[in-house]
């Protein structure tokens, strides 16, 4: 008899299909519809993936911040799993930002990297989440390690507004096109391509976060089952 799909499986499948369709739509708009930018040329099309990746990093980092804060307050496994999944999502999209940005910069600025405030704070943020992952992977899974990781997750979250407002407060070379003070996207197809990129990366971040969350929760249940088994004198795990 076929197993009935749980509601969460149906939601996940829906998100997955939407992410695929939106990614295909974004690719079509970015490469075939959106016009080439007048000053920078074709390399400006990196923008349609670079900015959504940064936004997806923010989403993951926010998940980590919420999970870490809740873990420091309540100390439940579920919140620890949310923080861990958020940090992993933030690292993936943070690495994408850190790779696509310099490839754009070498064309636009003539160099891969400058110690611009936004670049520096973004790099710092990615390094915080890399440190979080390294700590969780090699630092053990005890209460002290979890709390220390939660403190890192909290610190990473506190860095987010600094990244966001660094361009306004300290100027720098990094362009500001979207939002207050930005010149905006002048062509309608540019706006559509950007919107599709943002939505596609939101769904992509959601499914990556969810899949890592389920693994983290399953890991927590397994550890619990192993401890119970050991208490009953069954097996010797780890």
């Amino acid at each position: 008899m076929p197993r009935r799909l749980a509601p969460q499986d149906i939601v996940f499948a829906g998100l997955f299909v939407l992410a695929i369709l939106l990614t295909i739509g974004a690719i079509e708009f970015v490469f075939l519809r959106a016009p080439i930018e007048a000053h920078m040329g074709i390399i400006q099309k990196v923008f349609y993936f670079h900015v959504p990746s940064a936004y997806a990093m923010y989403l993951g980092a926010t998940g980590c911040f919420v999970g870490s804060t809740a873990y420091l307050y309540k100390g439940s496994d579920k919140h620890d799993a949310i923080a861990r999944a958020g940090a992993e999502t933030a690292v993936v999209f943070g690495i994408i930002v850190m790779v696509t940005g310099p490839l754009w910069a070498i064309k636009a600025w003539g160099q891969y990297w400058t110690w611009d405030p936004r670049l520096t704070t973004s790099l710092l943020s990615v390094l915080i989440y890399v440190a979080y992952m390294v700590l969780r992977a090699f630092g053990g899974d005890g209460e002290a390690e979890r709390k220390f990781a939660a403190a890192l997750g909290f610190l990473g979250g506190a860095n987010l507004p600094i990244i966001h407002f660094s361009v306004q407060k300290w100027s720098g070379q990094h362009p500001k096109v979207i939002g207050r003070g930005g010149g905006g996207l002048h062509h309608p197809d540019m706006r559509i391509a950007f919107a599709m990129g943002m939505i596609a990366f939101t769904f992509l971040a959601a499914i990556l976060f969810w899949s890592r969350l389920r693994i983290a929760l399953a890991h927590g249940r397994l550890v619990e089952a192993e401890h119970r088994a050991m208490e009953l004198g069954i097996g010797a795990q780890d």
Binding site: F49, L103, I234, A236, Q237
Partner: protein, 108 residues
Amino acid sequence: MGDWSRLSTGQWNLGLELKTESLPTMQNTAPSGSVTVAESPSDRASDFRAVRDGTELHSGAVLLVEAYAAIWVILFAFVWLTHRRQRSLDQRITQLEQALDKARKESS
């Protein structure tokens, strides 16, 4: 004040040549297309000419493809790491199941 009339008469040629030699990057990465160079040092001092039919120093199209490829390589690497983590969990579940089976047999 400097005597700018010397610029057009070629009296500053030596200085201009040294400046040109101090830009090895531009010389080394010269495009493969036909290049129009000044006839003499005095020409280099008085006008600048563009490279004709040359390629860009950094092709925007190539950089765009590299950036786009990097995105998918990173995402696939993440999927691979997720798979490895799932496999690790599977192994531990299998060990636990075997231990439970063993305990059940011993108790019966």
